[in-house]
């Protein structure tokens, strides 16, 4: 079926999230919706899925206008959606999840016995037809993320979705899982299903898309051919030409001052979420920890800064043993920490920028005068840092929670980088940021490295890892699979992708050479340089 949007406009107060958007999704095509965070992609999809009512414009299915009052209408019209965050019941089986909300019944009319056998049959049938390889009797909580995503796709297919919306589907996948997803998408489109694929990752777009529509600030700013070079797409997305890579000099590596030995972190259930990690970081180098979300990276950084309780092993910073120290003592020892969730852990949203800028340093001069806070010093500090870090805000007294993500991150960075550091840790430093802010944050991190500070980055975005790292440690299930210098392999991206799935380095190198990934191949076909130039 053909899905068409005509002049869709959606406002939130004074903000126009979607401004007269026209879009046509042809049958059997993969239509990529490309745009930065905040461009209005998700709003648009929620309009199509019936979660928001548009203020103007209409949705046409095969030329007929469609009135949507809720997701139920959208599903009935053949529109399915896979959300970025899965909507699955972990303790239910695949079949139970798939039929949840429209359970098939059997037996006499009105008795309504649950027809689970039928559900299982249907799941198996669809799974076979599209090569999903999903076991209808498996419990969701036992399945890897990539398979859970396929269950979400199944949920849509069971309801005869003809248009499938995938919202940032690759954010949670390893590169290899992404390849599998692409294969599934091919099967679906071959059977006539259309797919709307939402993403901000240029690399994937070019591997999958039949057509690309770029959205910026709520408006369609253009469409592009998948063969268009990446920097052209990026420029369209951001509205100006951007440098996709980070320019950085070769590292001037000094002595190793950070030594992590046999670090074990247990969670509340006693599971070893970090399981015997050894790492060294030298002055003047960036060590990046790569891995799929939830493989112990977060706990590793939190253990270093004293935010985890059950920690054994050793973390030495110069002569200081950090294990057993309280967070305040770790920070005082010269560790700067940018937590992965800035709104939850990095900032007090209701506090002003100037207060947030001294959150960890308010006890010492010049900010404390005896028991009192020196408001003048706070103001001076804020004025200085707001200028230095280009924080866009109407003043230092503005509540940090009202800032955009990029500006919030700049406040956190400003606080952490404005004192002499012995170790700088940044977890997901650019998650959810716009391209301009990403450039800024990356430049600052590299500058800190060049100033001779050991830098530890944790990122689930391979692009970011490749852009920043001098060496890359890949974590899988709490262990370090291997540490790879950034210049060791030609096809580093493929090798890292395999290592992120637990494959040791040597084996990963062999496999990567034998089976180059689709995304990588698409990039090579187009004949331009990889995104990241170091």
């Amino acid at each position: 079926m053909e899905l068409a949007l005509e002049g869709i406009t959606k406002r939130f107060g004074s903000l126009v999230a979607n401004d007269g958007i026209d879009l046509v999704v042809a049958p059997g095509e993969v239509h990529c919706l490309l745009g930065e965070n905040g461009a209005g992609k998700s709003t648009l999809m929620n309009v199509i899925y019936g979660l928001y009512r548009p203020d103007a414009g209409r949705i046409l299915v095969d030329g007929r206008p469609l009135e949507l009052t809720g997701p139920g209408d959208a599903m009935a019209a053949g529109i399915g959606m896979v959300h970025q965050h899965f909507m699955l019941v972990p303790v239910f089986t695949v079949a139970e999840n798939v039929v949840l909300g429209h359970e098939p019944t059997k037996g006499p009319k009105g008795v309504g016995l649950l027809d689970l056998a039928g559900a299982r049959r249907r799941v198996r049938e669809l799974s076979d037809r599209y090569g999903l390889a999903v076991d209808p009797d498996a419990l969701i909580e036992d399945l890897p993320v990539g398979v859970q995503q396929r269950v979400e796709i199944l949920k849509a297919l069971v309801r005869d979705a003809k248009v499938l919306i995938l919202d940032e589907p690759t954010a949670v996948l390893t590169p290899q899982e992404t390849d599998e997803l692409i294969a599934i998408m091919r099967q679906l489109t071959a059977a006539g299903t259309s797919i709307v694929f939402i993403t901000h990752k240029l690399r994937e777009v070019r591997a999958i898309a039949d057509r690309i529509t770029v959205i910026r600030r709520g408006k369609v700013v253009g469409s592009a051919d998948p063969s268009a070079p990446e920097n052209e797409l990026a420029a369209l997305m951001v509205g100006r030409s951007v440098s996709l890579g980070v320019t950085k000099a070769p590292p001037k590596t000094g002595e190793v001052t950070v030594r992590v030995r046999d670090l074990v972190v247990r969670d509340h259930a006693g599971t070893r979420v970090v399981d015997g990690v050894d790492l060294d970081i030298a002055r003047g180098e960036v060590l990046a920890v790569a891995g799929v979300q939830g493989n112990g990276q977060t706990e590793l950084t939190e253990a270093i800064v004293g935010l985890q309780d059950a920690v054994t092993g050793s973390i030495r910073l110069g002569e200081t043993e950090l294990v057993g120290l309280r967070t305040r003592e770790v920070l005082d020892a010269g560790v700067g920490f940018v937590p992965e969730d800035r709104t939850h852990d990095g900032l007090v949203g209701t506090f002003s920028i100037e207060e947030n800028l001294v959150l960890d340093r308010h006890r010492a001069a010049p900010f404390a005068k005896g028991p009192a806070l020196d408001r003048t010093a706070l103001r001076a500090n804020a004025t200085q840092l707001i200028g230095d870090f280009d924080v866009r805000a109407s003043g230092p007294e503005v509540a940090a929670g009202t800032l955009s993500g990029g500006n919030q991150q700049k406040v956190v960075l400003a606080r952490e980088l404005s004192r002499p550091l012995q170790l700088f840790i940044a977890s997901q430093p650019t998650r959810g940021l716009d391209v301009g802010s990403i450039e800024f944050v990356h430049r600052r991190i590299v500058a800190e490295r060049d100033a001779g500070t050991p830098v530890l980055i944790v990122s689930t975005e391979l692009d970011e890892v490749l852009a920043l790292a001098d060496r890359i440690a890949v974590m899988y299930r709490g262990r370090v699979v291997g540490v790879v210098p950034a210049d060791r392999h030609e096809n580093l991206r493929d090798v890292l992708g395999l290592m992120m799935a637990g494959v040791p380095e040597a084996e990963a190198v062999a496999q990567a050479a034998a089976y180059p990934s689709e995304v990588e191949a698409a990039a090579a076909d187009a004949g331009d340089d990889p995104v990241v130039t170091t």
């Binding site: 999230a17 935010l307 967070t327 852990d345 990095g346």
Partner: protein, 401 residues
Amino acid sequence: MKSWLEDVRRSSWLVSLLAVVVAFVLGGVLIALTDPDTQAAMGYFFARPTDAVSAGWRAATEAYGAMLRGAIYDPQAATATRQIRPITETLTVATPLIAAGLGVALAFRVGLFNIGAQGQLILGVILAGWVGFRLHLPVGIHLLVAVLAAVIGGALWGGLVGVLRARTGAPEVITTIMLNYVALYLLAYLLTTGAFQREGASNPISPPIDDSAAFPLLLGDSFRLHLGFLVVLVAAAFVWWLLERSTVGFRWRAVGANPAAARTAGMSVSAAYVGVMVAAGALAGLAGAAQLLGTEKSLTGGIAGSIGPDAITVALLGRSRPLGVVLAGLLFGALRAGGVLMQAQTGTPIDIVLVVQSVIVLLIAAPPLVRSIFRLEPRKRRSTDSADGAAPTAERQGAAA
């Protein structure tokens, strides 16, 4: 509960003001409906509705007029002293309410729901009472030691809650409520023991405290207003400084607003919980000192009255800010003081004061309710609170930037 507290605290002054106005209007309607003249006129309401309306209006205005005279200034009284006594009564009654309200408000700001002002106050009066009637110290020192004893008693009782919360995670709502009972029955028990019961008395009452342990009266013997009122005002100023200007208060507010970020910035959430509960208890203890050493002079089982529960209302109405708490405490003091004269002169039961208080609580505890009654613009929520889910919120945030 924390986000609800935040909403109450951050709602505008207008909401608090409107809550008070609505409560008085509803109270007035209730006075009118229960007035015998009005009820008689209601019998022929459809024949002559004006009778019922005017009778109701008269009843309500008379009652509130009496309340006003009883709370602020009574021009009908015989002597000048009696004319101005109402305002001093208001201040006297408000004194412990303000102190205990400050304690509750302080804990609110750190994200703790301190229901335990009552228990903390009782512990305070137990210690202060013992110092007041068992120790016989020189003038000046005796009062100081007695007040300190009250403050320490409250601080210990509050601190216990803080330690339980910090060490074991026991919710302070439960522990404070339970410790209120413990304190109440501890006092009841002590008043049956030789150390506390007045010699020769058969009812549970303590000996009167020494004059040297009492707060001096501010305006002479004709008025009950005592030095405790000024002490409490100083305490309010101190709480303001503590919250807004001190490094300790900075940490407490940070823990209250976002404990995760406070912890990540190296602050100790446990220390904040214990510290603020000690301070909150100390303030409730000070309220006890004002009650015992200023007005009651003897310990009885019911000395705490409803100060503890009222303190929660005062803190909420004052939006957990020291100045707000002082004003809310004065309002409640006026209601209490004025209610007495209202009942005496117009026969309107003093319970109407309770109704007014309760409606105020109801309305300020649900800011959206007042906003919808008066069709106020909903205040701008932080976008993270949006009910629309994370993804569209992020989009909006970015697009707004």
